[in-house]
Every structure is written in structure tokens, then in C-alpha cells.
Amino acid sequence: MLGYIIQRLIQSAFVMLAMSALVFLGVYAIGNPIDVLISPDATQDIREATIRHYGLDQPLWRQYLAFLGRLLQGDLGRSFVLNIPVLHLVLSRLPATLELALTSVLIGAFIGIPLGIYAGYRPESPASKAIMAASVLGFSVPTFWVGLILILTFAVNLDWLPAGDRGPTVEIFGVGWSFLTWDGLRFLALPAINLSLFKLAMLIRLSRAGTREIMLSDTVKFARAAGLTDFTILRRHVLRLISIPLVTVFGLEFGSTLAFAVVTETIFSWPGVGKLIIDSITSLDRPVMVGYLILVAFLFVTINLVVDLTYAVLDPRLRRGRRV
């Protein structure tokens, strides 16, 4: 098991290296950063001084190595616009996004998996067909549109829930969280629901497909022949068997949730990293873009690692070094 963990850690480091190169190339090499850095009416001297200062006269690979060196020291540069360290900026916005993403993934899992299992268990029933129809909607309707409708319905027409901003937070370890107060939850509700719908639809589909397949398997037949109730079979056998593929998707989806938070945060003015990247794109704030992308890549790699390790826990066939 330990060897496996080390092996996966090394792999993850390589992926991170590749991602940092891609991000560097993508953001720094395509397009001309000089245009952004230097005002058009600067003198030639200032131009050259700035270029030297940022190392832009160096060959690309040297620039990348310098970039990598700073990255390893946690230095992602300073925001052009706000003139504060990017790492600080991104990290201060991250908890809001993590809280939003985690809440929506949990909503998706706790509602989507049971619904999907039911739809797979009774594929022909009207309720299952309704569930599937709803999931097609959740899958295809764009997130931003659902957000608009949620605001229109619950904030404008019914006036039940707030539609913008984060509301009050409670500080724990110097980080503000919304979910600890009733009022904070009210602010969290609409954005979290908005972000969760896609996940919900996806988890419904996956658990339905898995359940359908497993219900026809010999494992279920044998369990039935032993007199187990269908409820026990679903709860103990099916849930356990579909949890293995679900964990993978869950992990990947958590990553894409962070990405889709961009849209939700914009609509609901949620002060997370998603809103930050949109602002930095519109203001061409390259260091912030790079910082955000590196961070997302890092989160992705970490999630993948955690997913793989969870795999090993869930599927005993993958556990190694077990004494037989």
C-alpha cells in the first residue's frame, strides 16, 4: 500500500509539471504580455527596462524555469490590477468557492444517487421515467439559465431567498464560512442548488445505469435466492458496487464543479475564485489567470490522487500486500 501511494505521488508530481508547462505556454507564450505590461506611450528605455525586469528577453525555456522556480517557492507573481500577491489573492477567495462546490456536490450525491438507484431498480415505473426526464433537463439546460430562473422565482417573485453576495460568515481558523449560520445558509442556498443541478443529473444517470446492470447480475440473483429483501439488496449490495465507479466521477466532477462555479459565481456575485478569474480575464490580469489555473490544476491532481486511494479502500481486489 505504501509503495502504491509513493508511486501515485510521483505520478502526480509529473502531471503537475506538465500542467504548469501548458499553463505557462498558454498564458505567457501565446499573445504578447508586453502589450499588457507596458503602456503604449512608454519610452523605448522604459520598454526595454521592463522587458528585462520581467525576464522577457530570455529564451522561452529559461523563462519557464524561472517561472517554475518562483512557483515552487509559492510565488505566483503580483496582480497587475490589484497589485497584491496572486497566491494571497487566490487563497483568500478559495474558501468561498470550495464551500459552494462542496455543498453542491453533496446535494447532488444525497439526492442524485438514491433517485438514480430507484430509477435503475424500477426502470419502467412512471416515477423513474419522470426522474430520467428531469435528468435530461438538468443535463442539457445551461447552468447560467437555471441560475436566472432560480433568481427570478425564489428571489424576485417569491422573495424567499437572497440572490446575490455571500452574506454573513463565521470565522474558523481565520477563514469565513457560510454554512454555520442560518442566514449564511440562506445566501448559500440558491448558488449551491444552481451549481448542483448538473451533478445531480449526472449522478442520477450513472447510478441508474450501474443499478440496472447490477440488478441483472448473478450477485443479486443469489442474494434474492438467500431471501434478502430488495431494500437490503439495494442498500448493501448495489450501493456498495456502484460506489466504486461513482467515486471516480465524483472526484472528477468536483473538479469540474470548481470550473462551473465560474458561471454560478458570476450570476450570484459569489465572491469566490470563479468570479476572480472572470474579472482577471476581462482586465487581462495574466498573473491572476496563471495563478488560478495552476491552483485548479493542483486541486485536480490532488483530487485524482485521493480518488485513486479511495478506490483501494472501496475495492478489496485492489488492496495490495494483504495477508491471505
Binding site: 448473478d218 443469489f222 442474494a223 438467500a226 429483501t229 481486489r317
Partner: protein, 323 residues
């Protein structure tokens, strides 16, 4: 005469498909006494497995019992709700399947799966259930049963896995176990071991056994009586010794001739000519008529009947017994 454990009368199981109705089981009747071992033999598609699933009420849709009756210990099972059948399954009628690698859940320990099977019938505590599971494992010859409860299915060999499945079937000491080709996926040497053990276990506990197999040789070493199925109908039935020594039906004869163990040394193995026809268009007469060397117009129009209740064949031209 004491009441039989199981009486099946004219059982019919149909599958409604787009192409038409498949009569997988088409009027099967038999009786099973307590502690008796019955072999149910036939090729694939003969309806032997469907018969087993019909008895225990586990037909996959679109299959359904279209008619007939199954009386188990004086109670009619056909028409019972799934909830009532569930109380019977595992408790009084158990079933084991062909591939133990597929039947046991790979991500749960043997102990967890056995405890579930125990607790499916009444609120046995965790400790008592584990104890029962351990005893059952020991009974089917699994060494070191207490520690093996914590193992996962993939940590067992194929033969051991099937023993675990048998142990699960034995948990509640059922009156009847239906075994659907449980040794087919195993090595020949392990097959023989398990057959011998099953026979002993059935005798010790007085459990009746329906052994479903395509292999007459296996059944002959195990069963008291045998029923030969062809296209959902019984073609021949009788005590194993009689059927093997003096098969009455040309189909049974053909099956025996194709067995290496039954042929004389040096003699070529014979095949039954032709192949099993589609179950969608069965002839009105004897189902075997299209492949039978003895078939005539009578065979093709009239379904054969049978007189003798001990050993008989549904055939218009039953073969003469050897001298």
C-alpha cells in the same frame, strides 16, 4: 402415502418477446420426496434452469409462470406474492448457481454476506449470526472458518468459493436446495469432491436436492432419480440406474451415446444429428420428432403420453429394454 415435499403439476413458464411467446417450460410435472436427490438434465435451452427459477419465484422479466401448480409442503406457491416467496427463499428453499465468482459480491467479506443471509430471516444478533456462519463454513469443509469470515471472495479458490455459496445455502437448513450447474465452472477433481460432499450433506440433514445439469454423468453419480428435459418438456424420467441401463427415449439414448464414459472402448462417440430447433416454433407432436430417427407421422402430430409412473418416456416408439 405420506405427502411429498414438492409436487409440480403441469408447470408452464413463458417468455413474451417481440418475436413471440417462448414456452421455456411447457407442462412439466414431477414429485420430490423429502431427502431425495433429483437430477434435472438437458441441453441448454431445454428449460432446466428456468424450471429451477420458476420453483423459487425468481424469473427474470419477461418470464412468468403461465400455468400449473407448485405445491411445497402442502402449500401452493404459484400465484404467491414476491414478499411471501421471499420469506421462503433461503429459509426453506435455497438455490446455488453456476459461477461462484459472479454470485458472491466482490466488495463485501464472506462474513458480511453470510450475516446478511442469516438476518434476512428474523432478527438474529450480529454475534449469533457470525457464529452460525462460522459453523456453516466449517460444515462444508472450509478450514479455519472463523478467520476466513473476514476474507473477500477473491481470496478464495474457485472450489472454496462454491463451498462458501453452499454454506450460505445451508445456513437455515432448508428442506430443498436447487443447484443450478454448481460444478460446471470447476476443475474436474474439485467437481468430484463437491459432489461427494453435497451428497453427504443432503443425507445428514435430510435436505432434498434438485441438481440441474447438462451432464448425465455427473447426475448419475449423485441423484436418486433423473428427469430428462427437451425443449421445455419431459422426455424421460425414472431412477438413475434404470435410465442409464435402459433408456427408453431415443433422445436419452442419444445423450448417453455421446458420453465418453458410457461408450465402449474404441467405439466412436455418437452425436445426436441436427441441433435444437428454435423454441418459438415447436411442432404439435413430439418435440424431438424433427431430429429422431424413429419419427413417423404419429410423432409429428400427436404429443406422446406415458403410462408407467416409475420409469417412463414420452415417446410413441419407446426403445425396447436390453435383455
Amino acid at each position: 402415502m405420506t405427502k411429498a415435499l414438492l409436487q409440480v403439476r403441469d408447470l408452464r413458464t413463458h417468455f413474451e418477446t417481440r418475436a413471440g411467446t417462448i414456452k421455456a417450460v411447457d407442462g412439466i410435472s414431477f414429485t420430490l420426496e423429502r431427502g431425495e436427490i433429483l437430477g434435472l438434465v438437458g441441453e441448454s435451452g431445454s428449460g432446466k434452469s428456468v424450471t429451477g427459477f420458476s420453483l423459487i419465484g425468481l424469473l427474470d422479466p419477461p418470464g412468468r409462470i403461465a400455468g400449473g401448480s407448485v405445491v411445497f409442503q402442502g402449500q401452493e406457491l404459484v400465484g404467491r406474492s414476491q414478499a411471501e416467496m421471499r420469506k421462503l427463499r433461503g429459509k426453506r428453499i435455497a438455490m446455488i448457481f453456476q459461477d461462484p465468482a459472479a454470485t458472491l459480491n466482490p466488495v463485501l467479506t464472506i462474513g458480511q454476506q453470510m450475516v446478511m443471509a442469516v438476518q434476512a430471516h428474523g432478527g438474529t444478533g450480529q454475534g449469533a449470526a457470525l457464529e452460525l456462519a462460522e459453523r456453516s463454513l466449517a460444515r462444508v469443509g472450509i478450514p479455519d472458518a472463523a478467520t476466513r469470515l473476514n476474507a473477500y471472495p477473491h481470496e478464495f479458490s474457485g472450489g472454496m468459493r462454491q463451498r462458501v455459496a453452499i454454506a450460505i445455502a445451508l445456513l437455515h437448513e432448508p428442506e430443498l436446495i436447487i443447484a443450478d450447474e454448481p460444478t460446471t465452472a470447476l476443475d474436474v477433481s474439485i467437481q468430484a469432491q463437491i459432489l461427494a460432499e453435497m451428497k453427504t450433506l443432503a443425507q445428514e440433514s435430510g435436505t432434498a436436492l434438485i441438481w440441474i445439469s447438462h451432464d448425465l454423468a455427473i447426475v448419475s453419480s449423485l441423484a436418486d432419480r433423473v428427469i430428462v428435459l427437451y425443449l421445455g418438456r419431459i422426455v424421460e424420467f425414472g431412477p438413475v440406474a434404470d435410465v442409464l441401463r435402459a433408456p427408453l427415449h431415443p433422445y436419452t439414448r442419444g445423450l448417453l451415446d455421446s458420453l465418453p464414459a458410457m461408450a465402449d472402448p474404441g467405439q466412436k462417440l455418437r452425436q445426436i444429428p441436427g441441433s435444437t430447433p428454435s423454441p418459438l416454433n415447436v411442432t404439435p407432436g413430439c418435440p424431438f420428432a424433427p431430429r429422431c430417427a424413429h419419427a413417423d407421422d404419429l410423432c409429428r402430430s400427436e404429443p406422446p403420453a406415458v403410462g408407467d409412473q416409475h420409469h417412463g418416456a414420452f415417446c410413441h416408439h419407446a426403445l425396447p429394454a436390453p435383455a
